[in-house]
């Protein structure tokens, strides 16, 4: 196997990895504010794709506007979901909330099936044109959008958490909810905001991957699994951890294909994930006993 092939495998891994990372970011945000894994996160990816396809193909809106509708529409659905399903559960019992999100994810995908129909749909690439070539490997233009938007999301989130009042309040709340409330932070409002953010990021992932992979009402669960694995691998800590988890998972998969077998790529990456968790239960970048946003 030559260098161009290796580079190609690496690019394939990074491409899948950035998609996983975008989904993992959403898991991380909701986990930080509520302590639960939101199993509807994958459905946000599906909704972002479906809404933008609907806006672009059915309403005939230009692609950038359709993408925006996909992202904002998903954020609105995320907020509604939080208000109707998460907030009424006042004691915040994580186990109950997790089950609520599982139910929510089934509800969202079945609703999408009825509203948008059972067929897969697609969007045109953001930038038309042949794929880019360098050093014997190729990369489609859409991948650059995926890389760029993932990087942008991380930068924006990092700045948001460290520089803005709201972001700091969210961090405070995730470190100690009671103490945060004592100094005047309203945790309920922050949970709603975190769902909006997570849904918007999921929607972004859906919009940016649909030109590559198409979308359908039932794609949410597989995005959810991979994003969840990436988030756990990274350690559910800060945005950087989620991205590293995603990229490592993507690379693991493509290297399993390169050197072992594509039949078992998911099994191989899962075994590595389990090994990492045995050695470092807090994930690659997580810190034991303390949660950091």
């Amino acid at each position: 196997m030559g260098a161009p092939e290796l580079l190609q495998f690496a690019l394939a891994g990074l491409k899948n990895g950035s998609i996983y990372a975008l989904v993992a970011l959403g898991f991380t945000i909701v986990y930080a504010s509520t302590g639960v894994i939101n199993f509807a996160q994958g459905e946000f990816v599906m909704l972002g794709g479906m809404l933008s396809v609907w806006a672009h193909s059915t309403l005939g809106l230009p692609l950038p506007l359709a993408a925006l509708i996909g992202i904002l529409g998903t954020a609105v659905i995320g907020v509604v979901f939080e208000l109707l399903a998460i907030r009424p559960r006042k004691d915040g019992d994580p186990l109950a909330l997790i089950i609520i999100t599982v139910g929510g994810s089934l509800l969202l995908s079945n609703l999408a099936r009825h509203v948008f129909g059972p067929s897969e749909r697609s969007l045109p690439a953001f930038t038309a044109g042949p794929s880019l070539r360098f050093l014997g490997a190729t990369l489609e233009r859409q991948s650059l959008w995926i890389f760029g938007l993932t990087a942008l999301a991380v930068v924006v989130l990092t700045v948001f958490y460290s520089r803005t009042r709201l972001g700091r309040a969210m961090r405070a709340c995730s470190i100690n909810r009671t103490a945060a409330r004592l100094v005047g932070v309203d945790p309920k409002r922050l949970v709603t905001i975190s769902f909006a953010l997570a849904a918007a990021l999921g929607g972004l992932a859906g919009v940016v991957t649909t030109p590559l992979t198409q979308t359908a009402f039932n794609v949410g669960s597989s995005f959810g699994i991979k994003g969840f694995a990436a988030a756990i691998l990274g350690g559910l800590g800060n945005p950087i951890a989620a991205v590293i988890g995603g990229l490592v998972l993507g690379l693991l998969e493509s290297m399993s294909i390169a050197f072992l077998s594509s039949t078992y790529k998911d099994a191989i990456s899962l075994v590595v994930l389990l090994l990492v968790l045995f050695i470092r239960p807090q994930g690659l970048l997580g810190r034991g006993g303390r949660e950091k946003v």
């Binding site: 394939a12 302590g35 089934l106 198409q214 359908a216 597989s222 294909i257």
Partner: protein, 398 residues
């Protein structure tokens, strides 16, 4: 280092939960019947187990459309010897366990005398225990080889099975002067089944497989697998899958700058594939029945008449041309109805089964069916043609 055990436990439970909802257990369970009869005679009831939700929802929807449309037509024409036909629909959510439960309900609660279904091969196979228990015939619109290769006297199949399509396609590939292929298949029922047949038949066709790759439903990128196929020096890529990932494979090949031809199978005979793959679909070739292009039936033949009539009616009613899956449901229903027509009133399910097996030269959408005591697929390679995507449309391949 302190690890918060409660959090670890919750994460673990969360991971367990993950596996449960993915299967999609959203059967509406509700009874869903077609037009109520106005006649005096009791209706003949047929059960239909279709994937109206879940992965195969895109296949189950045209199947249900077809059954509803055709049953209305049959009943308007007086039903079977004055008995209207009533179809009881069940959604299996593309889940074998749900399909089994639906079958049990259809048999024990609804008292159906035959069952059409399931949409998928896995669910079709799972239903067999219940079919055998009740002793009623099953007509499956699922394309897996196992449906008829693992023979059951009660089970019949309407699509071209992989064991029919694959040798036909390999012969075509060989005729193009190609001897080394890379095989890429999904790890689900259809892909695994097809890949098995390919591996079994390549030697006989004078072709070798230089790379064999797999992907899972929901995968977002296959360029790593294709890079391996490319590096192995394949002269063509043969893809076996019925899922939306087919479009990703075609697109990845184009993006990788692979110039070798891509071949698919009857699982890709959907316009969504062309839409999804865009320019990557150009030149894509696959074997399927003739319904995609009615002119491939000899015009003036009975097949041509049956097919164009069905296509026109379906297109008028649903605003979309019927795909091959609609055709499989059409054939399943009409084979049962034709068999019923040959029987006297008060027939038993066993007699119905015998009459279905006696189907001889039934001109359907998928082809001309002749079942026998050993052949429950009933079609031949004459019912297949090679298609090619040119300018975003299917044309007959040279």
């Amino acid at each position: 280092m302190i690890v918060n055990t409660r959090k670890v436990l919750i994460l673990f439970l969360a991971a367990l939960l993950l596996a449960v909802p993915l299967v999609g257990c959203s059967s509406d369970g509700g009874k869903d019947t077609s037009e109520k009869p106005a006649e005096v005679k009791d209706p003949y009831r047929i059960g239909a187990v279709l994937s109206e939700t879940g992965t195969y929802a895109g296949l189950g929807a045209p199947e249900r459309n077809t059954l509803e449309m055709e049953v209305a037509k049959i009943n308007d024409a007086g039903g079977v010897n004055g008995h209207p036909i009533e179809i009881v629909f069940e959604d299996d959510a593309t889940d074998p366990d749900t399909a089994v439960a639906a079958t049990t309900r259809l048999i024990d609660k609804e008292g159906v005398m035959a069952i059409i279904g399931a949409t998928g091969t896995g669910a079709t196979m799972a239903m067999r225990q219940e079919i055998d228990r009740a002793g009623i015939p099953q007509l499956s619109p699922a394309g897996g080889t196992a449906v008829t290769a693992s023979f059951d006297p009660l089970v019949f199949q309407t699509p071209w099975s992989n064991s029919l399509v694959v040798p036909f396609e390999l012969a075509y590939i060989k005729k193009q002067g190609i001897t080394k292929i890379g095989l890429i298949a999904d790890s689900g029922g259809f892909g695994k089944d097809g890949a098995g047949v390919v591996k079994e038949k390549v030697a006989g066709a004078g072709i070798t497989i230089v790379a064999e790759e797999a992907f899972n439903a929901g995968d977002t990128d296959m360029s790593a697998q294709l890079t391996k196929i490319k590096a192995a020096g394949a002269e063509a890529v043969l893809m076996v899958t019925a899922g939306k990932e087919a479009a990703t494979v075609a697109k990845n090949m184009m993006d990788l700058g692979m110039t070798v031809p891509l071949f698919g199978t009857h699982g890709n005979a959907r316009t969504e594939f062309i839409e999804g793959a865009g320019a990557g679909a150009e030149g894509f070739r696959f074997a399927a029945g003739k319904i995609l292009l009615p002119e491939s039936y000899d015009s003036g033949s009975e097949s041509y008449k049956v097919a164009t009539e069905f296509i026109d009616e379906y297109s008028a009613q649903f605003d979309k041309a019927p795909d091959t899956f609609a055709g499989h449901a059409y054939d399943a229903l009409h084979i049962i109805i034709n068999a019923m027509m040959t029987l006297d009133e008060g027939f038993t399910p066993a007699e119905l089964r015998d009459a279905i097996e006696a189907t001889d030269g039934f001109v359907g959408i998928g082809g001309v069916f002749t079942y026998s005591a050993t052949d429950h697929n009933g079609m031949t390679e004459d019912d297949l043609v090679m298609y090619q995507v040119t300018d975003g449309k299917w044309v007959l391949a040279k």
